[in-house]
């Protein structure tokens, strides 16, 4: 199938992008930003998305930089990193220094789809698209990152955990875009784990899980993904594991935490999610 007709615009800077989006949103409500086009492209072709206008963000320099205290101290405070929304998965995968201190972002990026998709797909597009099985909504939730949102009314920050409301639904308004993702640099004692059960390389997972523990900052999160909705944090479990260590990490405890937090899973789904959670969290103790 071929996309239905739409107008296409590629603004050069952030303010004209926001202005254009605001104008069309106010006038007809059918403008859509586009970053890598890896999710929007198929939706356009299948005519599932039919915006009157597509506003391409992929060339806006302000959305294309990766920053840390080391690279640009003036913008990013110590102990934080910031990734522009239009930075591609491949650029994160290839970033020379572990931005987050422990190589978590790099690892996550390298496991998204396959290289051709990573060359174009962006971190902001992934968050905005909000596929329940996607990597960034899960990983950034576990990491405790912030989503920096820009709209005609100005800037606001929302935690990654609150940004995605449900499958394919976020807190973004029609005239807002994601400007950047901002997160903490992990301490040397921090450990993470990440596990996806995929039928094949490059496929969205059947079950996924992320665990990030940073004792120095008192951060402990275990998050389940690919649940058909937004990722779900298992806070009690994370807290028990942080307190008691690996003894708290039994199949039974994970299973219990999962069914307490998520309803409606059948036996196979439950098994897959428990497996992903166990394997992700075990990595915390293995590294």
């Amino acid at each position: 199938m071929k996309a239905a007709r739409f107008a296409y615009e590629r603004p050069a800077d952030l303010s004209s992008a926001v202005r254009a989006l605001g104008e069309y949103a106010a006038a007809s409500g059918d403008a859509k930003p586009m970053a890598g086009g890896q999710s929007l492209g198929p939706m356009l072709n299948l005519r599932l998305a039919r915006p009157g206008r597509v506003i391409d963000l992929s060339r806006i320099a302000a959305l294309r930089c990766i920053e840390s205290a080391a690279t640009s101290a003036s913008v990013v405070p110590d102990g934080r990193w910031r990734i522009g929304a239009a930075v591609t998965h491949a650029e994160i995968e290839d970033s020379p220094a572990p931005l987050d201190g422990r190589g978590f972002l790099r690892h996550v990026a390298s496991g998204i789809a396959y290289r051709a998709v990573r060359n174009r797909g962006t971190i902001g597009g992934s968050l905005a698209h909000a596929d329940p099985a996607a990597d960034w909504p899960l990983a950034l939730n576990a990491l405790g990152a912030q989503v920096c949102i820009l709209g005609p009314g100005g800037r606001r920050d929302v935690s990654a955990a609150d940004f995605m409301r449900a499958g394919f639904s976020t807190v973004l308004a029609d005239d807002e875009i994601i400007e950047a993702i901002d997160g903490p640099v992990l301490s040397a004692e921090a450990r993470w784990g990440y596990w996806k059960i995929c039928r094949k390389t490059g496929e969205f997972p059947e079950a996924s899980a992320a665990a990030v523990f940073d004792p120095v900052r008192g951060h402990a999160r275990i998050v389940a993904g690919a649940l058909g909705t937004a990722p779900v944090a298992l806070e009690g479990l994370a807290e028990a594991v942080a307190r008691l260590g690996s003894v708290a990490l039994t199949t039974h405890a994970v299973d219990q935490a999962l069914v307490d937090a998520v309803s409606g899973l059948d036996a196979v789904e439950r098994k897959l999610h428990v497996t992903a959670l166990l394997r992700a969290t075990r990595q915390v103790f293995e590294s």
């Binding site: 199938m1 071929k2 239905a4």
Partner: protein, 791 residues
């Protein structure tokens, strides 16, 4: 790739000659229908039925676009597509090029729109208004078979395309059995997913006065017959060109409604029209293969010798048959091939091919044999477990032996040659069974379970007139012809009516011609894919082309040799008897004369020719078919090792060994490439591919996000070893082998998984083996045997 040393020196039969066609494809310089553009060309988009079954009330053309939209009623004079068969009980399913009266599956073409671009044509198509009264839907072949009220084809009286009954020695053979083993296995429906989908571009050539149809097909001459017939015009008015084709697999061996529609448009308007199938159309309207269900009962003795086999096979045939092969091919092949490579004395089978509200079944690489191998090989393992013997030993007990060749099977197939037990033994040795069994006993550090599986099959290839005529089809393959033309500079042009779309025949047919004439492969040009340039052939399917076209090429080349010698003798001043043709030249007592000089004499310097030169010149067209045309049987044994992840339901193939025998190898590298490609498709059938439907007949896998294909990372290391038992019936002893790779993988992988889980009482028997099916089977076994602890 193992066995690299297998191969002969030089460029003739048996040599590892690099494929000539690869150069253009590696550089992206192939020419596919989607690459073509003609002045004034219009693109076609089809509006397809959104419902699985319904009465078509009205199709309303959008206002202002009446002349850009076409429905069945506009196509007066175009015949509906239907192919009769004389198989008993066969019922005719008539398919109109655009739906008339009823729609019978989601994706059935109902109307078409034309415009300058495909996007514009789709814009128009989506504004066509359809009114359809929905009818009850059949998605389950077992239920559809028994339903005599809700019918797909009103005049049938039931929903059964045909039922085949066959019995041979069953009652007598089963009496001696002491062990009875029953199994039910099934395969999911799938799509064939060639890299290039279907594509048709038709135009009117004023100079030639012909309708020229460029179409991605395996069978250009057959499509020409079909288009002329169904459009009701002389064949002389039609030329079909099949350019580069990105995979066929059976999907492109029949005439499709869309081909007819595009051809009709071009004939009507005398301008170019094109339709390119997209992936969604393919996955929705092309989900048309593999869906078989088997209920088998094996009657064996204590050693696991299978004495008699009782089978009921149900094929989910979808809504329509096809032209020209008909849907009868699938049940026919299932019925005849189920006994496989085994020596069985009693056989009883009932095969139902049932109509459902899905796309009509087509023969996919391996045609029915993937299913029968899956069923038989699981039965073999089940028998082995029942008599507590190693599956390998039980297979050895049952395989047809080399001494028994040629062997007439219980299903009246004539196995021409081979050593089946040797292939299996070699597969066991190459996989290194002892080391794996030891590792299996030790257990894996990561908790996964190791399993080892075997599967054997034999594959009827290049079956000819007698086999197809017995099915009473509208079109039966006979003599395949080849034209071999010596060029004025002493090269060869080889023209064949078969089509090469990945099989490497631009190379292998040149190797055959080289074998006879000594002309270097680089100077032999194989022409195919154009009815205007090549002699008639029913085309490329059923692993027939290298045997049939190869035989024809050899015969045509051979017929030229005396002519070369006669001219050469004259030029050398000796008698023809004193000459030999060798190394591409005629050698006489006093010297030699090259083919270049001989060709130059015929074409350019006729004063040098003898007075009694053969007036047929240096070009010959000859037909060939094997004297015994019941088929040359290739065969293989596959052995595989898997690791099963009990927590994630994942299956990883750790090692894969194939020992194959396709008779005389024309090019081992091409055989290996064909085998590998087939195995990857078979892995897809085993582990990934499925076109599921909901109860309303809506397809649930309409994009590649939902239809899972194996990718490069899912393909294990595969080691291929060759045996070479020439067929006694074919030229050079060549056997066809294009399909074989796709036959055994589901059988061998399931057997390996079942081996890994045998002590838990787990048995999986339904493709594809996704995590859900595997974990559910594990859970079922755990519940059934609570005392047994599932790891």
């Amino acid at each position: 790739m193992s066995d690299e040393l297998h191969g002969k020196p030089g460029e003739g039969i048996g040599a590892r000659v690099p494929r000539k066609e690869d150069a253009r494809h590696m550089q992206g310089r192939g020419a596919f229908v989607a690459d073509m553009q003609f002045p004034g060309q219009r693109e076609v988009a089809f509006l397809r039925s959104p419902v699985a079954h319904g009465q078509l009330r009205s199709v309303v053309k959008p206002v202002g676009f009446e002349s850009s939209v076409f429905v069945r009623a506009d196509m007066a004079g175009v015949l509906p597509i239907a192919a009769p068969s004389t198989l008993p009980t066969f019922k005719l399913a008539v398919q109109h090029p655009l739906a008339e009266g009823k729609v019978r599956f989601v994706g059935e073409p109902v109307a078409m729109a034309i415009a300058r671009t495909r996007a514009d044509a789709e814009d128009i198509a989506e504004t066509i208004e359809l009114q359809i009264d929905e009818l009850p839907v059949h998605v389950d072949a077992h239920k559809a078979r028994l339903d005599r009220t809700n019918l797909l084809h009103a005049d049938w009286g039931d929903n059964v395309f045909l039922t085949l009954n066959y019995e041979n020695g069953f009652d007598a053979a089963m009496k001696d059995a002491t062990v009875v083993v029953r199994r039910e296995v099934s395969l999911a429906r799938q799509a064939m997913v060639p890299m290039e989908g279907r594509a048709t571009l038709a135009l009117w050539d004023d100079r030639a006065g012909q309708l020229v149809v460029y179409t991605s097909t395996q069978v250009p001459h057959v499509i020409r017959v079909g288009i002329a017939h169904f459009l009701g015009i002389d064949e002389g008015l039609v030329r079909v060109i099949s350019p580069d084709v990105g995979g066929g697999f059976g999907y492109k061996c029949v005439l499709w409604p869309e081909d007819l529609c595009v051809a009709w448009l071009a004939l009507r308007d005398r301008r170019p029209y094109r339709w390119i199938e997209d992936r969604r159309e393919h996955l929705v309207a092309g989900a048309n293969c593999r869906q078989h269900a088997y209920a088998l009962t094996g009657y064996a003795d204590q050693r696991g010798r299978l004495l008699a086999l009782d089978a009921e096979i149900t094929i989910d045939g979808g809504a329509y048959s096809n032209w020209p092969f008909t849907i009868g091919l699938e049940p026919g092949q299932a019925t005849g091939n189920l006994p496989g490579p085994y020596d069985i004395r009693g056989y009883r089978v009932k095969t139902h091919c049932v109509a459902t509200n899905k796309p009509g079944f087509l023969p996919y690489r391996g045609v029915a044999r993937t299913g029968v191998c899956f069923a038989m090989e699981q039965l073999m393992d089940a028998i082995a477990r029942a008599v507590d013997r190693d599956p390998f030993d039980v297979r050895m007990e049952n395989l047809v032996t080399a001494a028994a060749m040629p062997y007439n099977s219980i299903a009246r197939k004539h196995y021409d040659s081979g050593d089946y037990p040797r292939a299996l033994t070699m597969a066991r040795d190459k996989i290194g069974i002892e080391a794996w069994r030891e590792r299996q006993r030790r257990g894996e550090p990561d908790g996964r379970r190791i399993g080892i599986g075997f599967a054997s099959y034999c594959e009827q290839s290049a079956h000819g007139t007698s086999v197809f005529a017995s099915w009473g089809l509208p079109l039966v393959p006979g003599y395949d012809s080849a034209t071999v033309r010596t060029t004025p500079d002493g090269g060869l042009e080889v023209r064949v009516g078969v089509h090469s779309h990945g099989q490497g025949m631009e190379t292998t047919l040149a190797q055959v011609a080289h074998e006879v004439t000594g002309v270097p492969v680089a100077r032999i040009h194989v022409v195919h894919g154009d009815t205007g340039l090549t002699p008639f052939s029913t085309g490329t399917y059923a692993s027939r082309s290298i045997v049939m076209a190869g035989g024809a090429v050899a015969r045509a080349c051979e017929s030229l040799i005396p002519r070369y010698r006669h001219i050469g003798a004259h030029m050398l001043g000796c008698t023809t008897d004193e000459t030999r043709f060798e190394g591409g030249e005629v050698r006489g007592p006093s010297g030699s004369v090259s083919l270049r000089e001989i060709a130059a004499a015929w074409y350019l310097r006729p004063e040098r020719l003898p007075a009694d030169v053969d007036r047929n010149g240096l070009e010959a067209t000859l037909g060939y078919k094997p004297d015994v045309d019941t088929g040359a049987f290739s065969y293989a044994s596959h052995a595989v090792v898997v690791a099963v992840d009990m927590e994630s339901g994942g299956v990883e193939v750790l090692d894969y060994v194939i020992v194959e025998d396709c008779g005389t190898l024309v090019n081992p590298m091409v055989v290996e490439g064909q085998t590998l490609g087939g195995v990857v498709q078979g892995i897809g059938t085993a582990l990934y591919e499925e076109s599921p439907y909901d109860e309303n007949g809506q397809p649930l896998a309409s994009t590649l996000a939902d239809y899972t294909l194996p990718g490069a990372t899912e393909v294990p290391p595969i080691r291929i070893y060759h045996l070479e038992t020439p067929s006694p019936y074919t030229k050079f002893g060549i056997k066809g082998m294009g399909e074989g790779g796709a036959i055994a993988p589901p059988a061998v992988i399931f057997n390996a998984v079942n081996d890994a889980l045998a002590d838990l009482g787990v048995e999986v028997n339904e493709t594809p083996l996704d995590p859900r099916r595997l974990l559910e089977a594990i859970e079922r076994a755990r519940v059934a045997a609570p005392a047994r602890k599932v790891a």
